[in-house]
């Protein structure tokens, strides 16, 4: 069973689609569950690829 917008549904009744996208900051794996042509659930897993840095800058005296 899987929880959907209509409550718990048998997962075997649902069409599962996985969509992977990526940019320079993150990789996103989107998993959609469809029933009778309607998306009834989706999960989004965002994988942050790398963080951000603070660069030190030394000023003149």
């Amino acid at each position: 069973m899987i929880h959907t917008k209509y409550g718990d549904m048998e997962e075997s009744l649902l069409e599962r689609k996985e969509i992977i996208s990526e940019d320079e900051n993150a990789k996103t794996i989107r998993t959609e569950y469809w029933f009778s042509g309607e998306e009834v659930r989706s999960d989004v897993h965002i994988i942050i690829k790398k963080g951000l840095d603070v660069k030190q800058i030394m000023g003149d005296l």
Binding site: K5, A26, V40, R41, D43, G51, L52, V54
Partner: protein, 156 residues
């Protein structure tokens, strides 16, 4: 308008003022107690960038109305102890951020991390990703490897 991923400029200044503490090694704060941080999701239509200084409310944030999204975001459980490797100091949250059972029809594309211990809720960083909507599911933000060159927050 769009969101722009950035270390917040105010955070850089905050570091010099010892405003933030990611570990228990924080004598300028409460000895032995790390600050509390939170992560909030913002809509693609928002305009977050390096200029944001704090979490100031719900403007541009994902709505809590009918979405099951918690206003002000979720707590970040803890951070890895800040480490210095090859001249780079870094830290990363110890676990992913999860927003379970949410339905968000308006596209969102960024996450603001801010200090929730400080009353003024000073901003730390803005992380962006491809715009998403979600139906009755879980948004998970996984952290990068906590190492020099990849950690979520690095001072090079």
């Amino acid at each position: 308008m769009a969101n722009t991923q950035a270390i917040c400029n105010s955070f850089k200044q905050d570091l010099l003022n010892a405003v933030h503490a990611f570990s228990t090694n924080n004598p300028a704060h409460t000895a032995g107690v790390a600050d509390s941080f939170k992560a909030a999701l913002f809509l693609q239509s928002a305009t977050l960038d390096a200029a944001i200084t704090s979490y100031t409310g719900t403007a541009g944030e994902v709505s809590s109305s009918g979405t099951n999204y918690p206003t002000a975001g979720v707590a970040i459980a803890s951070w890895n102890a800040p480490t210095l490797t090859g001249g780079v100091a870094f830290t990363t949250p110890t676990a992913s951020f999860e927003f379970p059972n949410v339905t968000i029809a308006t596209p969102f594309d960024c996450c603001l991390i801010y200090n929730n211990t400080i009353a003024s809720k000073n901003a730390v960083m803005v992380c962006t990703f491809g715009a998403q909507t979600i139906t009755a599911g879980t948004v998970t933000l996984s952290m990068p490897t906590n190492a020099s060159g990849t950690a979520l927050l690095q001072l090079a």
